[in-house]
């Protein structure tokens, strides 16, 4: 394991999430823009808030959501609010989610993604004062769950190599 200074370790989750926001906001698509990009930022929030919750305080979630709103082109504040709602629910049910492993962990992320999508859909409905189409959100949900398999593995590797467990876990 690479031993990094504590400040560097502390910003790794935020940095990963911001990179995820930028990557998903790169306006390049192999599907000619027909399939929305996955929500990499939520993958980071889900993973790090379960593995190292001390590195993902609510303020960090707010910043990540703000970045997602800024770069995605949607209504400002939509993803910020959705991420915070998801974070609150994860926080309340942390014991359940953190005990999941393997495919169950992916299922756990699917639930988190569903919460975020439903929240975004509701906020979008209120924002536009009409029912937004459900198909793009459903596509994004499916793509994000699919992408969580490699991304989750990468984050797990990053955690083992650079971040490490919390002191309380010893």
């Amino acid at each position: 394991m690479v031993v990094l200074p504590t400040p560097v370790v502390a910003i790794i989750p935020l940095f990963c999430a911001l990179v995820g926001v930028v990557v998903s906001s790169i306006p390049l698509s192999l599907s000619d823009g027909r399939i929305p990009p996955p929500l990499f930022a939520l993958m980071c929030i889900y993973f790090w808030s379960l593995v190292r919750p001390d590195l993902v305080p609510p303020g960090v979630v707010f910043v990540i959501g703000l970045a997602e709103d800024l770069l995605s082109g949607g209504p400002p504040g939509l993803w910020t609010a959705s991420f915070i709602i998801t974070y609150i629910l994860l926080d309340r049910q942390r014991e359940v989610f953190a005990s999941l492993a393997g495919w169950a962990a992916i299922l756990g992320f699917a639930v988190a993604m569903l919460i975020a999508s439903v929240s975004a859909y509701g906020i979008g409905w209120l924002w536009y004062l009409r029912q937004p189409p459900i198909e793009p959100l459903a596509l994004q949900l499916a793509v994000s769950i699919l992408f969580y398999v490699p991304v989750g593995s990468f984050l797990n590797w990053l955690n083992r190599r650079m971040v490490g467990p919390m002191r309380s876990d010893f």
Binding site: P27, D54, P58, L71, G73, P75, A81, A98, A120, G124
Partner: protein, 464 residues
């Protein structure tokens, strides 16, 4: 690990306070953004400008791969493709000639009809450097921005049809809100019936047609074009074709944002005519000195311009002075357009008076009315004002009862007859008048059959 994590999370008793603050902040952010209090768009434009070189570099290999794949597909039919393109080029050249000729002819007709000028459209070519398809936004990013004079609101189209509008213009890049976006809503016209509607995006591939005019009979396959209403887009740009979707109609777009590479950003603005100077009026240009503008009440009885034939009204003639009736006084009014100036602009449709039966300034060609103005038909009174420059302006409608109209017609006819009688010395009374009309004519006091004819018009040498 799981239990430890949970224990630490629960152990942070003061962690609830930041969470509450963040929730409040998120709600405030939503409200402020809804009220447009935050410079979110400027921040987005700045970020895109900053990332533009990276985006172009990342886009290059994607485009290269796509071109390479396309090249492989077309490698085996290069010869036939070349032949096809030659034929198509020849046909297009013929169409180009025909289009040029028809355009010139249309402009000529527009000049003849004095119609309002077509809006001026200028365009900037740009390249798509990115697509962004999100659940709540369908956008494209172009590599042209404010430095290329791109402004928000301008129309973006490719060779097939309209793609959307610019909604954010950075220095080097601009964001396009596509027609399929939830926020997109544009006025359209359905051809050939010219029915008006609103095309609203809903993040699906085919935007929905809303607010269709009542009684409009739509059919699948009808073409949808921009209507130009509201000055939002140039009129007549192709958008797509109608497709029935249950009880509503959707529009299958001609342009596909997914494979649009090179686009045009069209700047659309109404053509502004330069302000008219007093010297531009034909009467002044011809050497007539303008008299000072008469007071409103004296318009109908003001003196004719120098050089105009002096026609004395008969004594006791009724004064027909509707405010629209013009008198041959050249008034240097910047709001008036000279008769020959084309095209009209600013929504004011001007017509030369010659086309309406009136005469130009200072030249009495038609029999003048008893009040000194030119004789005009009732339709002239109803449709507009005959200005001194021989133009129709201020299209105000004068509502008159049928009795009034009939009386005015009779008086005008009688006045014409009387003046004709005075101009012609031999005609003491027009022939062919029946007894009833003769009696009415005598009782009207308008005509004096014993009155000598007026002297011939006097002209100065300079006027000649």
């Amino acid at each position: 690990m799981a239990n430890g994590t949970w224990r630490i999370a629960r152990g942070r008793s003061n962690a609830q306070l930041p969470l509450a603050i963040v929730v409040v902040l998120a709600v405030l952010l939503l409200l402020a953004a809804k009220a447009h209090l935050l410079p979110f768009d400027r921040a987005r434009a700045a970020v895109t400008d900053w990332a533009q070189p990276t985006l172009q570099r990342m886009n290059a290999p994607v485009v290269a791969v796509a071109d390479w794949l396309s090249g492989i597909r077309h490698f085996f039919d290069v010869y036939s493709e070349n032949e096809r393109l030659r034929r198509e080029n020849a046909a297009l050249r013929q169409w180009q000639g025909a289009a040029t000729m028809l355009e010139a002819r249309a402009k000529q007709y527009q000049r003849l009809l004095n119609s309002v000028a077509d809006p001026a459209v200028t365009s900037v070519a740009a390249r798509v450097i990115g697509h962004s398809s999100r659940p709540f936004s369908e956008t494209m990013i172009l590599n042209a921005g404010a430095k290329d004079h791109v402004k928000p609101g301008e129309t973006v189209a490719d060779a097939r049809g309209v793609l959307g509008r610019i909604y954010l213009a950075g220095v080097h890049t601009s964001w396009v809100i596509l027609l399929t976006d939830l926020n997109s809503s544009i006025p359209v016209s359905i051809e050939p019936s010219n029915d008006q509607a609103i095309l609203a995006g809903d993040n699906t591939e085919a935007p929905v047609l809303e607010a269709v005019a009542q009684g409009a009979k739509l059919k699948e396959g009808q073409e949808v074009v921009t209507s130009g209403n509201g000055g939002l887009m140039p009129p007549g740009l192709p958008i797509g074709q109608l497709v029935k979707d249950g009880q509503t109609y959707r529009v299958a777009l001609f342009a596909d944002p997914g494979n649009a590479d090179d686009v045009r950003i069209m700047d659309f603005h109404e053509e502004q005519m330069p302000a008219l100077k007093p010297n531009d009026l034909p009467a002044i240009a011809a050497g007539f000195k303008p008299s000072p503008p008469p007071p409103e009440s004296a318009v109908a009885t003001s003196a004719p311009p120098p050089g105009a034939p002096v026609l004395t009204p008969p004594p006791g003639a009724p004064v027909l002075t509707p405010p629209q009736r013009g008198v041959g006084v050249a008034k240097p009014d910047a709001a008036l357009k000279p008769a020959g100036q084309l095209p009209a602009s600013n929504g004011l449709v001007t017509r030369p008076a010659a086309a309406n039966g009136s005469s130009p300034v200072g030249v009495a060609q038609l029999p003048p009315s008893p009040a000194g103005g030119h004789a005009t038909s009732d339709s002239d009174h109803r449709t507009g004002t005959h200005s001194p420059g021989g133009l129709v302006k201020n299209r105000e409608h004068t509502v008159r009862s049928p009795i009034e109209i009939e009386r005015a017609r009779e008086k005008a006819a009688m006045a014409r007859e009387g003046i004709a009688a005075r101009i012609s010395p031999s005609s003491a009374a027009p022939k062919g008048l029946d007894k009833k009309r003769r009696t009415r004519r005598a009782n009207s006091g308008l005509f004096d059959d014993d009155m000598p004819p007026p002297p011939p018009p006097q002209y100065d040498e300079q006027d000649r």
